[in-house]
């Protein structure tokens, strides 16, 4: 295992150093095989028999009500949690531990309050001993998330939306192959959230990143994802796997096409939430127009 990690590390390094290739990582390919999980041996399963693949560069939403195990599943994609059964294979390698190549973003930005914006954004490069890239990479990446003027400010002086943008810059700086978003916009106001949803999708597409986001917000899934995997709870299983066919313009909302996709997905979400023997929950959908 250590061997394969070293090899893939140096391969990625080589790709970044090659002068004529585009300096962007190609998104990760993910295969989830027979994955089941229980927190304790005798507890019920949180996840049961999950099998699906995510193509390189695909933007996938895991949608479901609370308790369907979507967040647990995302932690397993990151390598921060290990499934009790089955495996997660990324680019052909079974993953055992977290890696800066697939970075998670959480609901709280969790910036280090004793650091400036630029220092926070540079953490991934520092941890992976790429200090020599910081001077060039960090201004670029802060520009990308519209925080170019904030580099030397203390992280605590920023608004919630700006802090989440720093967290995004921090995740993107080490040039990951995949971003994993665990409801990262749910604590933000509607306007800020919309901007970030649009910008994150745009950035992921531009960089060719694989993007997996967990949400219970149907509108967010329709706005951001190419494909939505709806999960049902008790135990967490894939209820439906569906493609969102909207143009970039239609995704901004308001169009009939957007409304139609939204209604269709809301319908699936409700069916999954109403699956037998379960209490229902109203989806958190205050972004609907």
């Amino acid at each position: 295992m250590a061997m394969t990690l070293t090899l893939s590390d140096s391969a990625a390094q080589g790709a970044q150093d090659a002068p004529h290739r585009r300096a962007v990582p190609v998104g990760a390919h993910v295969a989830i095989k027979g994955l089941s999980h229980a927190y304790r041996r005798h507890d019920g399963k949180v996840l049961d028999g999950i099998d699906f693949e995510i193509k390189a560069g695909e933007i996938v939403a895991l949608l479901g009500r609370s308790g369907c195990g979507k967040s647990t599943l995302l932690h397993m994609l990151s390598g921060l949690t290990h499934p009790s059964e089955g495996e997660v294979v990324i680019n052909g390698n079974r993953i055992h531990e977290p890696s800066p190549k697939w970075v998670m973003m959480f609901q709280a930005p969790s910036l280090f309050p004793w650091m400036t914006v630029a220092q926070n954004a540079a953490l991934g490069l520092k941890f992976t001993r790429r200090n020599d890239q910081i001077a060039k990479r960090i201004p670029e990446i802060l520009e990308l998330v519209d925080l170019g003027a904030f580099a030397d400010r203390n992280a605590q002086e920023l608004s919630g939306g700006q802090q989440q943008r720093v967290a995004l810059a921090r995740s993107l700086a080490p040039k990951p192959e995949m971003l994993l978003l665990d409801e990262p916009f749910s604590a933000l106001d509607a306007f800020t959230r919309r901007n970030l949803q649009r910008d994150v999708r745009q950035i992921a597409r531009d960089l060719g990143l694989t993007l997996v986001l967990v949400t219970h917000d149907v509108g967010e899934a329709v706005r951001m994802a190419d494909r939505v995997i709806v999960l049902k709870a008790n135990p967490g299983r894939v209820f439906e796997d569906t493609v969102i066919t909207l143009s970039e313009e239609e995704r901004s909302g308001g169009s009939d096409e957007f409304q139609a996709e939204h209604s269709r997905l809301m319908n699936i979400y409700s069916q999954a939430a109403d699956a037998p023997g379960e209490e229902t929950e109203t989806p958190n959908d205050f972004t609907q127009i």
Partner: protein
């Protein structure tokens, strides 16, 4: 495009409006202390039974203090004391910070060590004096040991409390970005607890400075404690009182200096959203 209006950073640096008032109040406090001292001297001077102690009054004391400052005696007597306190604090921090981090990180170690450490903490450091004298070859060694025994607990417990308050999300984020154990320590844990460690050292200094004087009654022939003892034996009361003033002033200055360091290491911004 950005999500909020950019505040000019000068907003964070408005001078405190109360600073003039607090200076005046501090001066009133100092004047009151001097008043009580003068009154005590006045009573002693006019009481035939106590007349021998009249050199404790402000006038002879401050006159003597000035002589001691000019002659360099103040530096000679406080140098060795500062060295002993410094060494004692250094040993206390060298043990207290790493062990505090371990205790804060591992609940198991906390549970195992809690009773022994709380037990040892409640023993007056001066009660180790006979053991220290036997265990160390030099008086200096014994004094540094006593100071370290007094100083280690505030540093250890403050460090452990700081580690327990670390946001677990910071560690998760760092691990996710590829941080190894040394990165977690150097980039997350130590900066996060720096202010707690400094607060522990500030408390420790207070205790150490208190323990220093009685500890220097032991064998040594230098330092502030020795000077007090020596002045008492030679009935040189103005020198004794002047030494007391020196002890108070140095202790106050050291505490204020560490207070500034605590502020410097405190990463919480008052104007945070």
């Amino acid at each position: 495009m950005s999500d909020a209006v950019q505040l000019p950073s000068t907003i964070l640096r408005i001078p405190r409006l109360g600073s003039a008032r607090s200076l005046i109040n501090a001066l009133i406090g100092i004047a009151a202390l001097m008043g009580v001292w003068w009154l005590g001297g006045f009573i002693v001077e006019n009481d035939p039974d106590l007349y021998a102690f009249s050199d404790f009054a402000p006038a002879p004391t401050l006159e003597r203090l000035w002589e001691m400052i000019v002659s360099g005696e103040v530096l000679t007597m406080s140098g060795p004391s500062l060295q002993r306190v410094g060494l004692g604090l250094l040993f206390a921090a060298a043990f207290g910070v790493p062990v505090g981090i371990l205790i804060g990180r591992a609940p198991r170690i906390h549970e195992v060590t809690n009773v022994p450490f709380q037990f040892l903490r409640m023993i007056s450091p001066l009660s180790w004096m006979p053991i220290a004298v036997m265990a160390f070859d030099t008086w200096d060694g014994a004094i540094v040991f006593l100071i370290a025994m007094a100083a280690v607990w505030p540093i250890l417990f403050s460090t452990a409390a700081g580690v327990r308050r670390i946001d677990p999300a910071w560690l998760k984020v760092a691990r996710n970005l590829g941080a190894g154990p040394l990165h977690l320590l150097g980039t997350v844990i130590l900066p996060a607890i720096a202010v707690d460690v400094m607060q522990g050292i500030r408390l420790a200094l207070g205790v150490a400075w208190v323990v220093l004087v009685p500890a220097e009654y032991l064998g040594v022939t230098s330092g502030l404690g020795f000077a007090i003892n020596d002045a008492r034996d030679t009935l040189d009361y103005s020198r004794l009182a002047a030494t007391v003033v020196v002890i108070g002033v140095i202790g106050f200055a050291l505490d204020a200096a560490i207070g500034q360091l605590v502020k410097k290491f405190n990463w919480v911004r008052a104007a945070a959203h």
